[in-house]
Amino acid sequence: MSPEIIALLGDGFVETVIMVIGSGILGSVIGIPLGVLLHVTDKDGLMPRLATNAVVGVLVNAVRSTPFIILLVAIYPLTRLLVGTTIGTTATLVPLVIGVAPFIARLVETSLREVDRGLIEAAQSMGATNMQIINKVLLPEALPGIVAGVTIAIVTLVGYSAMAGAIGGGGLGDIGIRYGHNRYMPDVMWTVVLILIVFVQVIQSFGDWCVRKVSKR
């Protein structure tokens, strides 16, 4: 491989990292509160609001059932509005965040459901408000599950970022397609695949380590 290609792969890797980590963080910022909302407004939740729950639930499912490649192009107008362009690494953050936030929301909802109802009852018996129960009981108790969920979501984002890259976002996936596939340079493609495998491995191990760190069970 020529030094140019190696430099290209280096830049691509940085772009992938920005896309994955950036959208992972922003997706969590939106997805975690959304997951809490889904959980507490449920019919057995802390503050049942069935209408709200149904609307949010349908929206989340709608985004989750739209294939990501279609979501990418479907929200071009929104992307342009927010970033000013639809091309480039920053522009891909918009569809990536919108694509991953509902996924994170469902994973968070699932881990919140695992929290023993007895703990909520205990907090209520102490005179806790609903906000206190969310902040001091539900979220801390579900934290290991939430961290595990966010890890899964970030790994999924590696795949999403390759798709986003292929239609103008840059990153390793883009390089793999353009050089590896279109210009018939299999060594470039396999190098991209190898880097991504190692990258995912590192994310997963780091996520597992974090889960162990926060889990006191």
Partner: protein, 349 residues
């Protein structure tokens, strides 16, 4: 301290039918006492105890705690009074993400107590429940008994007037149960906290309760001081639950045998009855039974006997087949028993 008036609680079962968890229950719990509510699972006792802090809002009836009617309170006022009603649970309900110290600190944090005061109070409570060596451990590192001690300390954090205990010892082994009950008794005596204790074990009631009600199918079927209920259990549920520790009902084979003996005595013109005698050790100072024989010429067979420790004194129960020459001496003999603080009742055959 706590008044429960005509309380009923109805749930909708999944099949749409109404389930009456509690039916017209009225209770009066005095300040400073340990009040037991005993019943089998499904008797409605857990629902009942949850109405005392309005975790369950009753369908009908009123709950008054320390002069405040909970039915009339706003949610914010309800939260305020809940801080003065501590609660402990069968499965402890400790936060797995918090250390012993932080679990006990939680109710104080919720009240926005200053850090320094939290430190002081929690340290004192940890000392009170004897967990000094475990304050930085997580619940997963503790035994069941230690977890319940954390639960008790947590429930006491806001200096409650009342402590509700929902089957707090049911998940513990007998030895740990005893130690936990001793701790509750200590708290009741030293801090004057009124304790409402839900249990399905007579042993627990026997150990520490002052008064007790027995619940069956959502209703109170028997109520009184523990001594009264132990001496004269009336309802079949009470008798059945007492059978775990005291035998009130004779096996049928023995009853048949007794019937034959009584018939034989009566044929000879003598007077015979099956009696159950109960007595408190400290009250009975004379050798009553041997005096009965010498003075009143009453013969007896002891069919069954038991001595239990009941709230610090010995509680004895004897079932005897007494036989005397005639009814007059028999009545004089029973009078003698009553004068000497031995209660008796005829066992129905």
């Amino acid at each position: 301290m706590i008044e429960i008036e005509h309380l009923s609680q109805t749930f909708k079962a999944p099949d749409g039918k109404d389930v009456h968890a509690i039916k017209d229950v009225s209770l009066h719990i005095n300040k400073g006492e340990i009040f037991g509510i005993i019943g089998r699972s499904g008797a409605g006792k857990s629902t009942l105890v949850r109405t005392i802090n309005f975790l369950t809002q009753p369908t009908q009836g009123r709950v008054v705690v320390n002069g405040q009617c909970l039915n009339d309170l706003s949610l914010a006022q309800l939260r305020q009074i809940r801080t003065k009603i501590g609660m402990i649970f069968q499965h402890f309900n400790l936060l797995s993400s918090r250390t012993v110290f932080d679990n006990i600190a939680l109710p104080l944090e919720l009240q926005k107590t200053p850090k320094a005061e939290i430190e002081k109070k929690v340290t004192h409570l940890i000392d009170l429940v004897g967990l000094n060596d475990h304050k930085d451990k997580y619940p997963s590192q503790l035994s069941g008994g230690q977890k319940q001690r954390v639960g008790i300390a947590r429930a006491l954090a806001n200096d409650p007037m009342v402590l509700l205990s929902d089957e707090a010892t049911s998940a513990l082994d007998p030895e740990t149960t005893r130690a936990t009950l001793e701790l509750l008794q200590h708290i009741n005596r030293t801090l004057g906290v009124t304790i409402v204790l839900i249990t399905h074990e007579m042993e627990v009631v026997k150990e520490i309760c002052h008064r007790v009600v027995v619940m069956d199918q959502g209703q109170v079927v028997e109520a009184g001081t523990v001594l009264d209920v132990f001496r004269h259990p009336k309802h079949p549920t009470t008798r059945a639950m007492l059978a775990d520790i005291m035998i009130h009902d004779m096996p049928q084979r023995i009853i048949d045998n007794v019937k034959t003996l009584i018939a034989a005595a009566e044929e000879k013109g003598r007077f015979a009855k099956l009696l159950r005698l109960t007595f408190i050790g400290s009250e009975v100072t004379l050798p009553v039974l041997s005096m009965l024989t010498r003075t009143y010429n009453v013969d007896f067979n002891i069919l069954q006997g038991q001595v239990e420790e009941l709230q610090g004194s010995n509680f004895g129960m004897l079932t005897i087949l007494a036989e005397s020459p005639d009814q007059q001496t028999f009545e004089a003999a029973t009078q003698f028993l009553a004068q000497n603080h031995v209660e008796f009742e005829e066992v129905p055959l």
